[in-house]
């Protein structure tokens, strides 16, 4: 059973398009996160939700919009994709805020 799953695993798209990445966790955790890992493997927090409430909103372009329909899901929608958005996006969850995080397999986004 996959604890934290993301779809799709790979996403290749053209500049200017709008795309979504979905994340689901079956661990019963309260908190979920989105991270961006760049080409140099540097990992940076983007957003975090706790029980469907936004608690971390880093300096991310407003083209990125997270949505949490319930505490098991945290989706990431990206409008008007740019070349610089190419990266690996990781979803993660934790039992409570600040606890050990469990990561999904990542979504590799390539913007052409």
């Amino acid at each position: 059973d996959t604890a934290v799953s993301q779809t799709p695993k790979y996403l290749v798209t053209q500049m200017g398009n709008d795309k979504s990445i979905k994340c689901e966790q079956n661990l019963g955790h309260d908190t979920m996160y989105w991270y961006k890992q760049d080409s140099k493997k540097f990992l940076k927090i983007m957003f975090s939700y706790n029980n469907k409430e936004l608690i971390i909103n880093e300096t991310v372009p407003n083209r990125f919009s997270p949505k949490s329909p319930d505490k098991a899901h945290l989706n990431l929608h990206i409008n008007s994709l740019e070349l610089g958005d190419s990266a690996v996006y990781f979803c993660a969850s934790s039992q409570q805020q600040g606890e050990t995080q469990y990561f999904g397999p990542g979504t590799r986004l390539l913007v052409l």
Binding site: A92, G98, P105
Partner: protein, 115 residues
């Protein structure tokens, strides 16, 4: 601000030899420190954490880490490396001051274990 530094981009070690992956931290207050491992094309996996208590923390896959307050370090160690340990290792610290839900990750250290 809370931060961690991993001074080595890459560590090379022969199979069977001990390995150390270095991490130093800079925090206000007591640190909550973590190690994660990332295998190629995979997400990060939790290895171990230090919150309080014994300075030597044991984790998954035979790894351990030593918390050293005077040197502000939290180095990851394993007595005998395996080829399968080859991966990218991240040190992380939890923010306890401004937003305790936030983690800061180091830049990662690539561990190469040669047969």
């Amino acid at each position: 601000a809370q931060s961690v530094a991993q001074p080595e981009d890459q560590v090379n070690v022969a199979e069977g030899n001990p390995l150390t992956v270095k991490c130093t931290y800079s925090v206000s207050g007591n640190p909550y420190l973590f190690w994660y491992v990332q295998y190629p094309n995979r997400g990060l996996q939790f290895l171990l954490k230090y919150i309080t208590g014994d300075n030597l923390v044991k984790g998954s896959y035979g790894f351990e880490a030593e918390f050293n307050k005077s040197q502000t370090s939290f180095h990851l160690k394993k007595p005998s490396a395996l080829v399968s340990d080859s991966a990218l290792y991240f040190c992380a610290v939890r923010d306890l001051i401004y937003n305790f839900n936030k983690f800061y990750f180091g830049s990662g250290t690539k561990l190469n274990v040669k047969p």
